[in-house]
Symmetry: C3
Subunit: 276 residues, 3 copies
């Protein structure tokens, strides 16, 4: 961190300054989103003095007790969220995976070889406490919550809904189907959940995994599933047979919403249909 930021790190305060400098550097290069992969969100109440001292302990190579570690992680995550809010970024959370289940495979290969599963962690209270802590300071960034265990689909969608404040359309998002759930049944369940618990027309749609160029076809697959959903509803008389209106809604979910939400300089057409 010292090398990257050019700042000396002597404690938690200067570490956060260096972190902020890196955040700014990424911002200048066009980055508009952060992403955290966690079991559940750390959100224990902390005292500044204690977490500063915990930071020093860790730096000195000493271990923290579970409670100390949780409070330090809670403080760090809160501060990082403040940076996201300050620069208008979107904070993203990928929650619920239990990782590295097989010690043998983890030793034999590198980490992240895929011996992961869904977990069943407590989600609701920690998420509410974390988001509320930011909301109280009027510093809650745009947020996308992704879950990996489908038992939590509706919980996540309603949690996002609790903190929408009207400042940005769809400010709080229940994110696209992730990982194990990024298949036909999982995507359809996610879309139904957004539609039942929130507002599908504000959904920012599918995500591209930056590590694999092969993830682009998932956008095409997602668009087909989304169109299927409206096509089925139209055939059964559940939505009006208004192709113009439905086309605009679908184009928003597939393109315009993400452009506007992330503030990307990607053209102004609200809909390919409108342009045609």
């Amino acid at each position: 961190m010292e090398a990257a930021s050019g700042l000396a790190v002597s404690g938690l305060g200067s570490f956060l300054e260096a972190d902020d400098q890196r955040h700014q550097a990424f911002h200048e290069r066009g980055c508009r989103a952060s992403d955290h992969g966690l079991e559940t969100v750390p959100s224990a109440p902390w005292a500044d003095a204690e977490v500063s001292s915990s930071f020093d302990k860790v730096r000195a190579g000493r271990a923290l007790e579970a409670g100390e570690a949780l409070r330090l992680r809670s403080a760090l995550l809160h501060r990082m969220a403040l940076m996201d809010h300050q620069r208008g970024w979107v904070q993203q959370f990928h929650l619920g995976a239990l990782r590295n289940n097989s010690t043998r495979m983890r030793a034999a290969a590198a980490e992240n070889v895929g011996c992961d599963s869904m977990g069943d962690f407590e989600m609701a209270r920690p998420l509410a406490r974390f988001l509320d802590g930011l909301d109280r300071q009027a510093a809650l960034p745009k947020t996308i919550l992704y879950n990996v265990n489908p038992a939590d689909n509706e919980l996540f969608a309603t949690m996002a809904g609790s903190f929408n404040d009207g400042s940005v359309p769809g400010k709080m998002q229940y994110g696209a189907a992730w990982w194990f759930l990024d298949q036909k049944d999982g995507n359809e369940a996610q879309l139904r959940t957004v539609s039942n618990m929130g507002l599908l027309s504000h959904f920012v749609g599918m995500v591209t995994d930056s590590r694999s160029f092969l993830s682009y076809p998932r956008h095409d697959y997602f668009r087909r599933l989304l169109c299927n959903l409206f096509g089925e509803d139209l055939l059964r008389g559940r939505v009006p047979d208004d192709r113009e209106m439905l086309g605009r809604l679908i184009a928003k979910v597939c393109f315009a919403n993400a452009r506007d939400y992330f503030g990307l300089p990607l053209g102004t057409a609200a809909s390919p249909h409108a342009a045609a």
Copy 2:
């Protein structure tokens, strides 16, 4: 409570007497059901002496420790269930919501402004302990369990089933889809769960929210979803094409079951079909 009941409340004993007097007063005006909105059911074992003393503490404006509060709440809920049983009322539980997530909105507006979400509380053990405590005394009232997180649908339905005793048809009910779940997918899931885990023909059907007259149309919507379910099963050959039998079953779920279960003086026709 003293003003309403006309009784002096000097401690837990006289509070419960006053509560019982109010219960009787509502009974005389035709009330036949109670309703509790809770995260999960408080059902810790308690000692009468301790909870009496906790009641005095609260009345004196002193705070209780978490364990003390849980035991006092457990004792109170048990006693209220005994009143329901004694007068033949139905006790209802709406469980699983995490409320007032946003401190800012709670301060800005009144309470109950809608900044709530689904929670992921432990449900099974506390529910089993509470219902068992009443069942052991042969004092378990008719009971309806409503859940807000659909991950608990089947758990709730099987929990109700564990305590059916044959004394009243459908004595223990898994209740109609509630709140976030009171939409097409949620109602269909609730009906399938009742049908798979229990006995749909004993289901007492949809509920009207007393606070909003606009909730009446949900009864019409519920009836259509219920008829759709049987219509689809009939078309696919999963139920006999016996309109008389299916019509009677649907009429029971939409009207007669609730009338008989709550003991309401609402006419004697078992089915509009039978009457026609």
Copy 3:
């Protein structure tokens, strides 16, 4: 145990020798699978000296503290798994039921009268720890995980997937729909989960409950649901219209996979279609 094994049991060591002798005796009579019905898998770290002493305590009729009991159960389950691995057995786990909810019915009738429900126990961490403990010793038996609360369907399927090692096709299985879930919706959800999270072509299929000869028809019902699933996918163009290939896959799930997985001497035809 002493009478059945003909061995004197003086402590945990000799108890496990007697247990191993019984395991061998069952093996000689053709048994190839064990089965454990548990709330969740006990998998606390233990020390041999402590669990030996806990065993002596129990034998002397003294009660164990909760932590001691958990560690003793963890040690016993691990040792039984080693026996399964040594003789090539399949270990099965039926997890998640909350049993004997009604004390009154349990006293009035025998145990297991059906006053059970689904529970909501922590599943992921204990399962990962238990399976990892065996995997680290290269002693993980073939394993089938059955869940009773459908909120855990996908969790169980991905947990099984975390420990597949290529040594046996479908070594780790997410098992057929069990108990409350052994109906149309439950079986279809289980099949979809296997197909989405794992490899349906390796699934060993439906199970016969040894206690009731009436459970045989469930095999027929299961086969029809499985064929329906492929029939629906074929009609909608989601799988190739290749009846030979689909027939072979279905025959594997209905017969050949189980024969090969359990090592049963039941003929060699991979598929009735191939034989025809």
